[in-house]
Symmetry: D2
Subunit: 349 residues, 4 copies
């Protein structure tokens, strides 16, 4: 049994981590911190947790340094650009760190990070050794990693939707379109005009067209899988619902293929993946079917007379898109069963 | 054709007034102000208005004094306790004022206002002459008024649901229960944890149990109608939807009556009211059926072996519960058709 | 490890049972039947279950008799009036049955059942021995029962909200008002005009005013707790959300009490209950905080100068209001930990 | 003042027509029919209409032949393949017909209609003379038409989003991707598993990938505008909301252009269109801003280093996507102001 710490436990990703780790069979103790609510009890801020702390924590929100001190693994769920120093500290103290911001999503490529996030790095060594935490791409590296950059929510959906054909060079790389849609939890806990129910309910729109920060991360993953540069156009939209992401992806095939051929490749590629479900031909990935779980459902469709692959990937942005995948990474890093604590059966409604 | 001014045009009530007055046949010009967005254009803040200003305004948000100067009637849609000085100024200049805060909802009873809203009055004369703007209660007084206190949203539903039996002394006054539910627009434009979609969607709860500020206003109206003190317990709840209020009201009958007897009284009482629809026996008031309109639907039910009257009143909190009723008051004050500009047919969905 | 069977596995309550039992540590095998989908696979009808059957079932929907034959405990999730024969059969074969319809909610009182459900009974003996499955009321009887009538969703909320004061005769019994609100899953899987998103979204209304079938069941429970007849007026409403019930209950106190006094009684009464959380004074029960869990949150409020107790009870209508409570009953009947398989931490959003 | 008839008045499109025509200043009388509810009153089926019939109809739902007889213009809001005979009858009697099904959306091209809708035509002459009712494309022809095929909802959004660049041959025609999303009213009044709130709320997915019937209609319009074949891939998705469509369209530019250049072309092209609002650069079309109105908002974005035009078109699927556009066609056919009866200001929430 290990002790897990969460720095930034009261943000949405943080509290979702709390939910998952409270029920995790290999985590015996939780250590929590929050800048906004230091000294308060997390069960007062999130009353859903009342009476549920299970002896793993008394709920007190301490400071970040204490979390590092007490924990075997630290999850940082912080604004972009803040996790570095905790990572350095964890490495020094022989602890592991899983960061849920973008700070470790670009490996040693500081330039791209700086271009999109407007910040420089200070602790270059931790970036050098950090591993991008997408198990379907990097499982073995993750097992040995000390610092993990947990993937973006949209990015996970987009990457998983094309991985099998990118690796096999079955799609053209000059223009792949990712039209993605996310639930409102993606905007986080901070109340804004954008997530005010009165204006976001019963409404739908794209945002950050042509300039969302997940674009370079998607392109990086796809290029890495294809072994050559992949050009991605990415458009996110905001859905009038709480949880869930759909990525509808359009990728021209190198040569015409049938849906059956594509499906066979996907089914084989993901056969042993515990969290990717390739749907039967004729089915379509749907957010409801993965809600609250760590699954990513993928459906494949071939359109335009066999020349265009269209894939749909659905996941829960707070689970496989954030906290669940972070726990999956922890499981790999500590040699636990990969599904430990994240084997929830999604509800039908 | 008159000029109407709105002080506080960018709050939710303010912009709903803009929507209604832009389409009002007797309003030729609009004058708008906003503290938060002074100098900006309202169509940039509310893009729904783009290309819809119809020559009545160029959309510029000016200052409050200019609005008073330019307008024949001024609507104040401000935080509680601020409208007084504009009212005094309007009276002095021979203009009319309709206030949508609570400031003029208690007539000359400063004590109750102070007890519930924590503020004192400065311009007592305008309070003395102010009229409570519920047309179904005060139509003739409204026609002659210079200063109107527009009723609260919950209050309008609660009052209309019992008016016919209170006036006729058919219900007992020692304990009337008003269990009311409102859409989230009632929390206003300011984004908060309460109206963040992620937490308010797919959720429901009461709030301010036993201490909501609409309680004394409901009690005042009911007592006024009954001619004696009426004791009201009022519980508001927040619905996971944008617009609409339901008040479910429980009132013990003085003597057992049938639904038919009650229905006949309601139908007769509201026969000539343009905005109150008494539903046939067997139907139940529903927010969808009044959405976007100035209607208040009322259904009557007799339960507990004929001893308890249960009424349901449904209205759109932003229209009959706020901006629509304010326009109705304006229509009465200027001798326009009472339904002018507020005769929208509610949509089925 | 036992084998659990579900007759009616494709209705909403049935599939929620499947979700919970798939993750239940003491259930090794599941046997499923469905009249509507016999011969099909449940994972095709509910794709959320795909790849989640965990070796407990292959998903095939068989016939009801096979379920009885194969199972140690049978859950019947059927229309009212159909479960009797399965109960008789289970009793005969030494198996246990938990019925989620109303058939066994009235003990041996066939008259009330017939009056409200329009059907008579055939197997009187099983009714005689059946136990009403509300653990907070009947825990010890449930442990020994062979046939359980699982409580109604509204009924569970209403009963738990007043149990401590009814038992102690602290509230008057001549008129208790239960104003309750339910999510749309309560209308079930059958698509109707009532649950069509286009008309039920962004809308709210009461239904079945004065004549909902949960009224006699609430009255029965409350009378049983109070030891004398309790007169209940019950009004259900339909919320524009999927899961969750709130019961706002108004009960006049026998003598004035403070919120602190009431709270102390509730806290003590429910101290050892694993699934009832009495909220601190000042907090209000909210459906979001119990969503997906077996908790019933109860908040107590004293209004009207200490003379009226107002309680709010929140639960997930599909869990503590149906499938979760049924599993709780199973746990008690088989001597499992009461929380086994139903200890989900509710999510914050 | 004319008499307008609606055959199929109780479907969602039918009742939206009723809402608009009740408030239309040039329509003096309404004649309504419904197969499902013949003999009943529409205000009993849609209680939002209660007390709103304004002397234009008593609400009685008669038969279709009577509607044809009594009306100057007949709207057919029927399943595909049924309107033909009413069109023939209207032409014979000198009346006008506006059909809201797909029957007259393909001009004289029966083959395409048969391929996608599985039905043949009987009255070829009325197809020959029918006009496709998209005013932005065919305004002058519509003025003289006797039979109009009202465009599909998705089709209107997709077509308006690219019209200016197609006409000017600024985009390549070999692969245009239309990723579109619609509110649930698009599934109509018939309750199904798809529109059951419990499963459609808090969920999102594509449907009919690669085979939705609006694909050939979009391709036809785009090809017509471009003067050469345009190849379109179209993917519809279902949103958890009632009203609104967004089409996000990806079209490769013939040569790189700036957003400013594109915007100037759109602004000029739509300058005199009463219902198309080209948003300023930096704004993004959003369904909320057009809800309940006949506007189509279009925003233009240039991505992928100036090589890819991305447009977003937002409209209300029930108004500009169906009933509102039908009224617009009526206005043109009768020489009324084009905006008569469809000049609603969209609400901010």
């Amino acid at each position: 049994m290990i002790t897990a710490g969460i720095i930034g436990a009261t943000g949405y990703v943080g509290v979702e981590l709390v939910r998952l780790l409270l029920a995790h069979p290999e985590v015996g103790k939780l250590s929590l911190s929050s800048v906004s609510f230091e000294g308060q009890n997390i069960a007062d801020i999130y009353p859903n947790l009342r009476g549920n702390l299970r002896g793993k924590t008394d709920g007190t929100l301490g400071d970040a340094d204490a979390v590092v001190e007490e924990s075997d693994v630290v999850f940082t769920a912080l604004p972009h650009g803040v996790a570095e120093k905790y990572a350095a500290s964890c490495v020094e103290k022989g602890k592991k760190l899983i960061d849920l911001s973008a700070d470790f999503r670009f490996g040693e490529d500081e330039e791209t990070f700086r271009a999109w996030y407007g910040k420089s790095w200070e602790f270059l060594a931790v970036h050098d050794e950090s591993v991008y935490g997408l198990p379907e791409l990097n499982r073995e590296k993750i097992r040995k990693a000390r610092v993990i950059g947990n993937p973006g929510c949209y990015v996970t959906a987009a990457t998983l939707s094309l991985l099998p054909v990118l690796i096999r060079n079955l799609v053209k790389c000059d223009l792949i379109i990712v039209d993605a849609k996310s639930g409102i939890t993606g905007t986080g806990r901070n109340p804004t005009a954008t997530n005010n129910f009165s204006e976001s309910g019963e409404s739908f729109a794209p945002y950050n067209v042509g300039k969302h920060r997940h674009q370079p991360e998607i392109a990086r993953n796809m290029s890495c899988a294809a072994g050559k540069p992949v050009n991605v156009v990415f458009t996110p939209h905001l859905l009038p619902m709480s949880r869930g992401i759909i990525a509808t992806v359009y990728a021209p095939l190198v040569k015409p293929m049938t849906a059956e051929e594509i499906h066979e490749i996907y089914a084989a590629h993901y056969e042993n993946e515990p969290f990717v479900r390739v749907l039967p031909i004729g089915s379509t990935a749907t957010t409801r079917n993965v809600r609250g779980s760590n699954f990513c459902d993928v459906s494949v469709h071939v359109v335009n007379d066999g020349t265009l692959l269209e894939t749909v990937a659905a996941l829960d942005n707070m689970v496989k898109g954030a906290a669940g995948q972070a726990v999956e990474n922890m499981n790999l890093m500590f040699g636990f069963a990969e599904t430990a604590g994240i084997d929830q059966v999604p509800a039908a409604f």
